[in-house]
């Protein structure tokens, strides 16, 4: 589990396109940098990010080592009904990181 910084509005009007801002604190070691003793830091990245809205996948990203450290991804989402929003990060060597949010449709 890695720390995340997420911004998702709590409420939205039906049909409104909201912006979801996400960031996960992760070094994204690209396998090309070295320690001061000359030792190579092995490749260690987040390989996938996905967003589920009302249990259906709406957005997916396949990340490569050319992605910056602390990958920040911002994307839009059209809100139709109240429901859960789940964000999921897949790591190379560790268990997945999840973030759960709930959005409510207001008139």
């Amino acid at each position: 589990m890695f720390n995340t910084r997420i911004r998702i509005p709590e409420t939205a009007r039906a049909g409104e396109i909201i912006t979801i801002r996400t960031m996960i604190i992760h070094p994204m070691d690209n396998g090309l940098t070295v320690m001061t003793n000359g030792e190579l830091i092995p490749l260690d990245i987040i390989t996938d990010f996905s967003c589920l809205y009302r249990n259906a996948e709406v957005f997916r990203v396949a990340l490569e080592p050319s992605f910056s450290a602390n990958p920040a991804i911002t994307f839009p989402l059209r809100i139709t009904q109240s429901g859960p929003i789940t964000l999921e990060w897949t790591h190379m060597h560790e268990a997945k990181t999840f973030h759960h949010a709930e959005i409510t449709v207001v008139p």
């Binding site: 940098t33 000359g38 259906a56 957005f59 990340l63 050319s66 910056s68 839009p76």
Partner: protein
């Protein structure tokens, strides 16, 4: 426990810097490798247009260059963007990211940060629901590349 001496520190950091420099020199893709990576993921001849890439024309550091991609699309089930591929022509690895989009998003816009080893062309390919492809090449100038700023970690 012995504390590292100043001489030891200079020697080790020097060795690391040399290792980092040789590593950075070895690892660089060519535009041809990038074209091969694009052909692996997308089949067809791309047209120009419909894509907008918003990035600083001159990035101070290549470690984190903010990129915003917008594709003109109504994002309805019959006509939407299915995939957006981002490639860098001169990074050690040409692939940067592959975004899979759905009509539920309502708009074809993504924002992220990428590494750039040096000033180079960034290529964006967008695939539509009907299979047509659009391509944009945009040059981004980087003052200090990602491979030189953080070549060694302390």
């Amino acid at each position: 426990m012995t504390r590292p001496t100043r001489r030891h520190m200079i020697l080790t950091t020097g060795a690391a810097a040399i290792a980092a420099l040789s590593g950075a020199g070895r690892a660089q893709a060519t535009p041809a490798e990038m074209e091969a990576a694009i052909a692996e993921a997308f089949s067809g001849t791309p047209q120009s247009g419909r894509i907008r890439l918003i990035a600083p024309p001159l990035a101070e550091t290549g470690n984190s260059v903010p990129i915003r991609i917008e594709v003109e699309s109504p994002m309805v089930p019959e006509d939407h963007v299915t995939r957006i591929g981002v490639y860098a022509s001169e990074n050690p690895r040409p692939r940067v990211a592959m975004f899979t989009l759905t009509p539920a998003m309502g708009a074809a816009q993504v924002e992220f940060n990428m590494r750039l080893s040096t000033g180079q062309d960034v290529v964006v390919i967008a695939e539509m629901a009907d299979g047509s492809l659009f391509r944009l090449d945009q040059r981004i100038i980087v003052q200090v590349g990602a491979c030189t700023t953080l070549s060694a970690r302390y």
